[in-house]
């Protein structure tokens, strides 16, 4: 191959990476500056005021160990939202995988009538917009008492998550050989042992990807949480949205950093499964 062309390619990749990282740079500058207005590129005033306002860092003079503990113990909104987002995300991820596991196995390994139709129904929430079902669901949730509470929000998060989990895990089971399970059973292993020792290791990489997708979909959910949670279940997306429209860029940037940090951390630990040869994402080729 032409060497110059190769070089241009690589420079293009570097340029792309720099452009992709620009918003992150802007978040960090904004979050630690004060009155960072046009045309300043480098902020004139550095400040922790956004973090003080969010009650994550104590006011100057109280920045001792006790000061931090006392502040964080006062249950600031950001921490409440962070904990809500995390716990809802983990909970719905686990529940959705438990629900989807048997279904994905059946869809991946067996052939039966209406299979295509059932897959189509399962993935329909990724195709039809959330606004089409949540507006109608809202009134019903209010009258069933699911509105404005944690449980209702978890329940509604399952809807957009289900397709990703079912699809990813169906992709895994399609490449899975169940013969090993039979062998283990004939050698005397019981059902639980067979699952733990044979099935689970084989599907684990795909499950990690499914869990990643599930968690991220829940993590960034705004509309469903806003409507079903009636504003009472505060999560980070709600906080970002309302802050972004309240005109303090430093504050918005600080919350955004809190919002992306856990997600990036999770990507970091799962990245080898995501882009590896696990074939998990190839489930998307099977819609």
């Amino acid at each position: 191959m032409n060497n110059n062309l190769k070089k241009i390619n690589i420079y293009a990749i570097y340029l792309g990476a720099i452009i992709l990282i620009l918003p992150l740079i802007a978040f960090f500058i904004n979050a630690f500056s004060f009155r960072w207005f046009y045309p300043q590129v480098i902020p004139k005033e550095l400040s922790l005021q956004a973090w003080v306002r969010l009650k994550l860092i104590p006011k100057p003079g109280q920045r001792t160990f006790e000061g931090f503990i006392e502040l964080w113990a006062s249950n600031p909104t950001v921490i409440k939202a962070l904990l809500n987002s995390l716990s809802i995300g983990f909970l719905v991820t686990i529940v959705s995988i438990i629900i989807a596991l048997p279904a994905a196995r059946v869809l991946g390994l067996l052939n039966f009538r209406f299979k295509k139709l059932i897959i189509f129904i399962m993935v329909s929430p990724t195709i039809l917009p959330p606004i089409a079902f949540v507006l109608g669901l809202n009134i019903n949730f209010i009258s069933w008492g699911f509105s404005g509470n944690y449980f209702g929000v978890c329940l509604v998060h399952l809807v957009p998550i289900m397709p990703y989990v079912v699809l990813t895990m169906t992709g895994i089971f399609a490449n899975y050989n169940p013969d090993f399970e039979h062998q283990a059973r004939t050698l005397g292993a019981n059902k639980t042992r067979t699952f733990l020792l044979i099935t689970l290791p084989a599907i684990a990489p795909g499950m990690v990807v499914a869990a990643l997708f599930a968690f991220l979909v829940s993590w960034s959910q705004y509309l469903l949480t806003f409507l079903i949670g009636a504003g009472k279940v505060m999560t980070l997306p709600l906080l970002v949205f309302s802050t972004a429209s309240s005109g303090n860029p430093a504050l918005t940037a600080a919350i955004s950093i809190i919002f992306i940090f856990p997600a990036i951390l999770i990507l970091f630990f799962t990245s080898k499964f995501v882009s590896g040869e696990s074939g998990a994402t190839s489930g998307f080729g099977k819609i």
């Binding site: 019903n140 309302s242 309240s246």
Partner: protein, 416 residues
Amino acid sequence: MKIKLKFLTLTFISLFFSKLVFAETAPGFNSWDDVVKAADGGQVNVYMWGGSDAINGFVDDFYGVPLKEKYNITLNRVPLKGTVDAVNQVLSEKEAGVTGDNGNIDLIWINGENFWTLKQANLLYGPFAAGLPNSEFVAWDNPAVNLDFGRPVEGMESPWSSAQFHFMYDSARNNYDDMPRSYAELSNWIAENPGRFTYIRPGKGGFVGTRFVKQIFFELSGGHAQWVGPFNQELYDKWAPEVWKLLNSWEKDLWRSGETYPKDNAEMHSLFANGEVDLDFTQSPRGAGPTNTAGTTPPTSRAFAFYENMIGDFNYWAIPYNAPNKAAALVYANLVLEPELQAAQVQPANGFCCGWGISTAKVTDAAGKAAIAEAQNNLGDAAEDQDILAKALVSDIAAEYQDLIEADWEANVLLK
């Protein structure tokens, strides 16, 4: 005849008593102690427009802390894009048949047409306002307080603070003396400074923009007085075309040639702070004080007002019919009227910086008086001359105009 008379007397007596009960405590409670006791250990879900970072911070710090420490109530502030979101939630709950104490919202920061929507549909708890101990500081005899957009309040909401529309400019870029003082002068200013002005789109979340347009009606029609009172379709139809004509004549000289408009005050502040436009709107009697403190406008920002037709009003707290924590809501509505907290809210350094919700003359205790006197000395230098503001002050008009102006602006200016 006799029976009828007796019946009448009974009615009067019961009316008298019920009136008396109103004045003493809010419905469902026997005494204020009863309220405080019922609220102890609970929480209060406060739904309020979250579009001002400065106000949000004030509520968390100045109300959240005493609520917890004095009354053992946890404040749960729910930021909204517009007050109408909360109104909508209450309507949905009504539609779904949620009654008693089973709703989600305890308090709504409200006024104008949102208040009227809920009051008309019987979706408010009350009357409770006169039952608050601090109600004694409220100037209930003032029509600006007991009427909200021309509609009687009747104790269904309790005042918090006051506001008045006017403008901000950056003293580093412009001179106070060059600022326009009427819409006629503003027209010239826009023509001389193309691209340097825009206004907030009248509509959801943009009530400040609606107010800006409303005031044009007053100036073009030759005065505010004729607009007071019930809604008058004829009067509106007479002047609306003139207003749209004026706004359309500005269009080519507006920011981005009027192709789009900022949606809310936050977006407007950002345009102003980054030098994309030269004028900004403020609702605070302290002018640029609160945004300068928050660092969302340049520290050199100052305020100016037109000499006439600057709309001012009070804003209130209302409690929905199905509020889950009515007692805590009452404690909150009472707390915000404490003279010391009122004195805190008018000072730019504290962020919120709206006007008084109480009549300062009614405060008699020494501590309250001292706090008020102290506050008066701390109003900051980013405010317009208080006499100019007072002279330009006019009341807001019937709630029907609000929707009409928003819909017609869209049809005649935006989509034209």
